[in-house]
Amino acid sequence: MPSDRQTQYRWKYLWAGAALAAFGMLLAAIAASAERRVLELLEQLSLSGIGWGVLATLVKAVVTVGRTSASAPAFAPTVGRVWASAAGLWILGWTLIGTSIRYLSPPAQAPSPAHGAPLFRRLARYRDFDWGTLLAYGGGVLASELALIVLHTALVTGVRFGRVLENRSDAWQVPPPVAFAISLLVAFAIAFAAGFLGAARAKRLATPEATLGLLYFGLPIPLLLSALSANPDAQLRIGYRLREIWYLAGLLGRPELGYWLVYLGLALMIFLGITTGFVATGSGRMDLRSGFELFIARRHVSVFRPRLLLSVLAILMFGIIPPLIVYAMVRAAEAAVEQTRIRALGLADPLKATEALHHWKTREQSPTAMMTTLSVGGVGVGVMALIIVLSVMSGFEADLQQKIIGTNAQVVVSKYADSFSEYREVIDKVREMRGVVGETPFILNEVMISSGQNIAGVIIKGIDPASVGNVTDLPKNILPGGSLDNLSHPEKIIARPISNTSSPEPAPGAVRTERDPPTPVFQGIIVGRELAGSLHVNVGDRVDIISPLGGELGPQGPVPKSRPFRVAGIFYSGMYEYDAKFVYILLETAQKFFNMEGVSGVEVRVADVDDARRVAKAITEQLDGWPYRTRDWGEMNRNLFSALRLEKLVMGIILTIIVIVAGGLIVATVIMLVLEKRKEIAVLKALGVPDGGIVKIFLTEGLQIGIAGGLLGLLSGLSWCLLIEKIGIKLDPQVYYIPELPVKIEPLQTVIPVLIAVLVTYLASIYPALKASQVEPVEGLRSE
């Protein structure tokens, strides 16, 4: 046919033009290398890794070469001319390329019999571009971006009635993460609505408009923001108020990456809106019902069969091999019974036997049913893994948190500079407050502890045995054999005979009692289990505390102060760091030892751990602020808990990839379904199902798999968590400091994986469903 040769290329012109344009680009790059900041900007863009990362790296390489080769001072004045010639060459090159392509009119043919007849009306009116739709999509993405920026800035900086308040505390102000979440939701809603309305109005997907809208209306703002983030000066000058937005993204280390993630999210929402709008108006008017679509989908993929659900659940709960063995056994038994029955039947009536045999053989499943089971299993595994891993990580976090706040208080009140001797009044004030359930004074210092040849640096804490139990778990953590009471009554400590032989002389400062036993009475001390182990001491043994401070002056300057104590008890908190580093003595003893009038601070226990920050703030206000200050446990251990959160986030992302892989399985399954059902799609179209209805059918089929998999994953994940919680999995004490795998089931954490699974399967089914709707009725009907 001559009609397929209508374009003629003149290759010489084309290549010359391409070379010229490339040379123009090179010149532009050289000119750019003379400009400052270009390099930094490229650096940022090349690392952003979305789309143009490779390209930007290439350009950067050229610029770097240009920069090193061109001597900047001599080059500088001619920059303008270089830019101009670069542009000229660029335009000239493209003009050459343009002229090198010619369209030839096809050779004359005899006119077809339809020559001059009116064109098929629908083809004549055919138009695949609509400015209104472009405006809806592009305007939607732009509006959502602007809404996100404006709303977030407003919420974070406390703008009220359109102006920034000088006194921020009385404006409605929310912390950045909450503000970000709110504005992101609003922006998502706007993007979704724009996509929905655009598609509903156009009654088609309008892919060209969507692409153009997202590229031309959506890209400028993230591009601008990325460029700004690469240039701190400009950022400070133009968009200093935007810092609240990149603040959050900046926590991830790469602010501009945050922009692009948000942009991708918005694009995704537009896409979801478009498909939903298209599906909803597929029958010509808004129609969100899905009666017959669901009816058909449920026959195509009968996911909610007890047999399928039970077998997937069995595999999720017990692994692949045991259910497989059971299945094989059941099948074998069934076959034996059935064949015996058929044979018996056949002896009486051969025809009935063949019928029974036929039914027995046609029970085999189709490949699509197999794929469906696999997909459900895949989604289930992903969701289950997410739930279990996140719960175990939460368990670790909760365990750690409990140990940390069990040993240290939840809120600590301390005082700047001055001696904190009025602590009793402070305690009285704090006790009155709502949300406070316990308070105790303490002294904290660092000393050396020694026993015989063993020595260790420890943190010593002076405590009030009467009230310490209200704030920390110390009394509960004392191992049998020792007692917290021994601190107040040192004479009750029974000395171990062996340790005394090393020190026949009573040390200075030892308290003598009337009973005059062979062993002197020392003040009691409570040490951690690990420390006791490394010092080789037990309850009743003597240890010495040495402090460089507060000793008398000797001939060569201050002499370290040393004092003997007797181990009154050993505690085990479960935190290695604490068990190896902490020792406790009586508050009064500590005051005497460190020559202190007051205390280091007051520890407070609050009713609700998660409310500690608010209570801490309230305490500061109650005490009129300076010189007092409060810190809560979250603040004191911020690094640790941030690390844990980050770890959980990363783990969640990695495991979500499993769900996405399962989503790929769903794409394959639904595509197989579409191929298998081509004929039926054609028939359904002939019966009057609109394109939107077909999309609905196959979306529902994918969603069924997702929902079934998600629910099975939820069920098995929760069961596993409960199993671990109730029965427990022993951890190797040589490796882990905790005896059992901790689990904490959080409702949000179990629901989110299911939602992710459903979303992923929905997204995964969109493409095959659209493909299904594009099946031409004639094509499907012709196949036979």
């Binding site: 019999p113 058909i296 026959r299 004929k679 609109p690």
Partner: protein, 224 residues
């Protein structure tokens, strides 16, 4: 009264890269309620003609009006709705949905039109009774004989009382006796409901029994 007006219809399809002009300016007028048979050689474009009338296939040029309405002016959803309400199709092969029972298959067009399940099933049951299949209501297509399946397909085509029935060799896969039964049924339905019907067939004898007979030859329709 003119029911179906077809003007200057052109349609080509491509076979091994060659354009084959099957319809070359077909024009045809059908009165409302008319029963017409269409015969022609294999590959003469009978099925294509029927598909174009039924809006399952797009022509290159031409015009079709049904009861004064220009069919090619409609939007996609309107076309789907038109196929659902106004046209009933019967194909050479029954094309029943294999996962559904005879009753559900017949009820499907009504369900697509968002009828409630109850009325749709009741109407489908009436139709199955009319074609004499009350005993086969809960059987799936795989369990029906060829003639039975074709009768179910006819019932499905008639369930929404369409104004236009397009039958594409409905008896092509059936033995003469069963085929005659289907034709008998078509004639009865045409008489009772006043449906305009075009029946494509290979069987000259059956074609002769229709009130009006057409022949497709060289892309044109002639009376035969």
């Amino acid at each position: 009264m003119i029911g179906l007006e077809i003007r200057n219809l052109f349609k080509s399809y491509f076979l091994h890269g060659k354009r084959i002009d099957v319809l070359r300016g077909v024009s045809l007028d059908l009165a409302a309620g008319e029963l017409v048979s269409l015969v022609g050689a294999s590959g003469s474009g009978k099925s294509t003609f029927l598909h174009v009338i039924g809006l399952l296939d797009a022509p290159a040029a031409g015009e079709i009006r049904f009861n004064g309405r220009d069919l090619f002016e409609m939007s996609d959803p309107a076309v789907a709705d038109f196929r659902n309400r106004t046209i009933g199709f019967v194909f050479q092969s029954h094309y029943l949905l294999p996962e559904f029972t005879a009753l559900e298959n017949v009820a499907m067009p009504a369900l697509i039109q968002r009828w409630e399940r109850g009325p749709a099933v009741r109407r489908a049951r009436e139709l199955l009774l009319r074609v004499g299949l009350e005993k086969r209501i809960d059987h799936r297509p795989g369990e029906l004989s060829g003639g039975e399946a074709q009768r179910v397909a006819l019932a499905r085509a008639l369930v929404l009382k369409p104004a236009l029935l397009l039958a594409d060799e409905p008896t092509g896969n059936l033995d003469p006796v069963t085929g005659e039964g289907i034709h008998q049924l078509l004639r009865e339905v045409n008489r009772e409901l006043g449906i305009t019907a075009i029946v494509v067939t290979h069987n000259e004898a059956l074609a002769e029994s229709m009130p009006r007979r057409l022949r497709l030859l060289d892309g044109q329709v002639f009376p035969s």
